[in-house]
Symmetry: none
Subunit: 140 residues, 2 copies
DNA sequence: AGAAATTTGTCCGTATGTATC
DNA sequence: AGATACATACGGACAAATTTC
């Protein structure tokens, strides 16, 4: 189903959607917008179209994009050290078992465990961080 | 040589090639794939095309990529949780935010967080330990 | 401990071919 | 035919995480 642009052009519909999110706080000031590739998936639009939408927002002064970094919702003056909560789900890593984990898994303290971390978000804020620990693959 | 994609797109040809290497063991499980720059040289394709190929493998669950590290051949299906075993809540307590949690919640290191811990059991053995962290009071 | 090199992540700009309205 | 959108591909640049020296 490509290219039904009866009323408005696609890029304008997308730009309006994003503008709404910024104005109602779904994307708080200073926060990073989803990346172009994420928006591409979400809107099922090509990168060129996404870029056209973001360019419209930029021209309207609603966002600022930094080369190599991303696009921010109406940036704030310098001095606000607000760490942009990493959109990166740190995924999986190895950690050493603390005493409690070691007891639960019945292994020695320091044994390598796999930690999977995920983040529960709501309205751009991190609501909860979930960490799941497992023994390393028994099948290898 | 820009953009002759008559038959298959290049990124898919490259993805298929890499998938074959993984499936026939040329790239064993857990091993690092060649770096993007190496693949760029090998396939004489641009980095974007290489990344597109790797993204296809990632979406297929064949590889996992870590920032600054590299791309691994299926080290462990990360997102797939069978969730057959029920979780037993084993406790709730307050902990101080470590640097990573502090960054995620946008609070200072040491801020009190609530930690809920539960375990997933199967035939008496602990399969996984789940720790959920939340802010003690609503931040707004 | 700190600097440099590696490697992936993201963005920019551009170009070409294809398909649809 | 023209405008819009999509898919693919290239090259260059800065950012950030990791590793190495």
């Amino acid at each position: 189903m490509p290219t039904p642009h009866y009323g408005q052009p696609r890029y304008r519909v997308i730009a309006d959607d994003l503008r709404r999110r910024i104005e109602n706080g779904a994307i708080p000031p200073g926060a990073l917008l989803p990346t172009e590739s994420v928006l591409t998936a979400e809107f099922r639009a090509s990168r060129g179209t996404i870029r056209q939408a973001i360019a419209a927002l930029r021209e309207a002064g609603l966002v600022v994009t930094e080369h190599g970094r991303g696009t921010y919702a109406r940036p704030r003056p310098p001095g606000s050290r607000e760490t942009t909560a990493p959109l990166l789900t740190t995924g999986q890593r190895e950690v050493a078992a603390d005493p409690e984990l070691a007891a639960l898994f019945a292994v020695e303290v320091g044994t390598a465990l796999v930690e999977l971390q995920s983040i529960e978000q709501s309205r751009g804020a991190v609501e909860a961080v979930v960490r799941i620990y497992r023994l390393r693959s028994p099948s290898q």
